[in-house]
């Protein structure tokens, strides 16, 4: 019967783990829905901004704006890596870190100095472990990133870019395409790539005060919005990944539980059968 009680203990333990994973799955599901809503709510702003920028932008303006500066050689680049503060999300953080490492490798092989800005405990933990210096470490951006969070990440970098202290800015996060596809994604945010001309309506607008002043106001907003978009999409992708991982864990727990229960019952039955055989044997011996 020693085997029986040992199995009982294991069944109990798997049941408890399964309770935790199932709860985490449900939490992730509800957070995922809210994060998805936030991704969708951010779209009209992005669209309006790129419509106007694309209709005002022309190639000749490039020299007038520090954010449109196209450096011939990229001496120094900054990478902002977005990861989550919590684990239990399958390969989510590992994939983001891998994407960032690939980007760092490519840039460094071209002779670029890369400075690293990391948001999220998981990314920070990894780069601290491999002993790579990080310029900026942020753990304060949680489940509900705001436009202000995005600004606090990117404003200093925009100033540096305008002053030619860095020549490029990349953001590594997850691109949220749908609940099923949210691959890691690196994106060059600076220098600004103006949105496609064909996207915006080619209208002759009355401009107040003038195209230059409007653009100098909107280009930083465009960069901040790119950052904000990356933040909300990464959060949505995190919850999607966590939900998937926890669902798989719950399912696996169920399978293990079935197996353990079967083994336990078999042991119990064998025990009973043996006892009966002993009794019958004992009774037969008395006759």
């Amino acid at each position: 019967m020693a085997k029986g009680s040992e199995l009982k203990g294991r069944i109990k333990s798997v049941e408890n783990t399964r309770k935790i994973t199932r709860t985490l799955e449900m939490i992730a599901t509800s957070k995922m829905k809210r994060a998805q809503d936030r991704v969708i709510a951010a779209r009209p702003y992005a669209r309006a901004l790129s419509d106007v920028i694309s209709s005002l932008y022309s190639k000749e303006l490039e020299g007038d704006f520090p954010l449109l500066r196209q450096p011939k050689t990229v001496k120094k680049a900054a990478i902002v890596l977005l990861t989550s503060n919590r684990g239990m999300a399958g390969g989510f953080n590992a994939n983001l870190i891998k994407e960032a490492r690939t980007l760092i490798k490519t840039l460094e092989s071209e002779g670029t100095v890369v400075e690293l800005h990391v948001s999220g405990k998981k990314g920070i933990g990894y780069f601290r472990y491999i002993g790579r210096a990080m310029v900026n470490q942020r753990t304060d951006i949680g489940d509900k990133p705001s436009a202000a969070d995005a600004a606090s990440l990117v404003d200093a970098l925009m100033t540096q870019f305008a002053k030619s202290e860095i020549d490029a800015l990349y953001v590594v996060g997850a691109a949220y395409k749908s609940a099923l596809a949210s691959p890691p994604h690196s994106q060059r945010v600076l220098p600004v790539t103006p949105p496609d001309k064909s996207a915006g309506g080619q209208k002759d607008f009355l401009l107040f005060p003038d195209a230059g002043a409007i653009l100098s106001e909107l280009l930083p907003a465009y960069v901040r919005n790119a950052m904000y978009k990356a933040l909300v999409e990464t959060v949505a992708a995190e919850h999607v990944a966590r939900r998937t991982a926890m669902k798989a864990a719950t399912d696996n727990g169920g399978e293990i539980l079935n197996l353990l229960r079967r083994t336990y019952n078999r042991a119990r039955q064998a025990n009973i059968t043996q006892e009966i055989a002993e009794i019958v044997g004992g009774a037969a011996a008395l006759e």
Binding site: P44, L49, A150, P209, I214
Partner: protein, 80 residues
Amino acid sequence: MLHISVISPEAMLFEGDSQSVVATAFDGEVGILTGHAPMVTLLGTGTVRVGDGPSFNVSGGFLQVVDNQVRVVTERASKI
């Protein structure tokens, strides 16, 4: 009739139809009625009032008019 939307990075704050919009542009108030020419103007710090709808406190951003569609796009907006 104008179709008006007030948009911040986080959400669409207002979307609806009205007769007019009065906004605080960078150099003073600007009023928009149906049939306004296509326009883009920077906004200052002040209010955006939708004809018979809500008002918003706005700082920075821009206002765009095309084909009786008015878009107020700003990073800082709050409903009054």
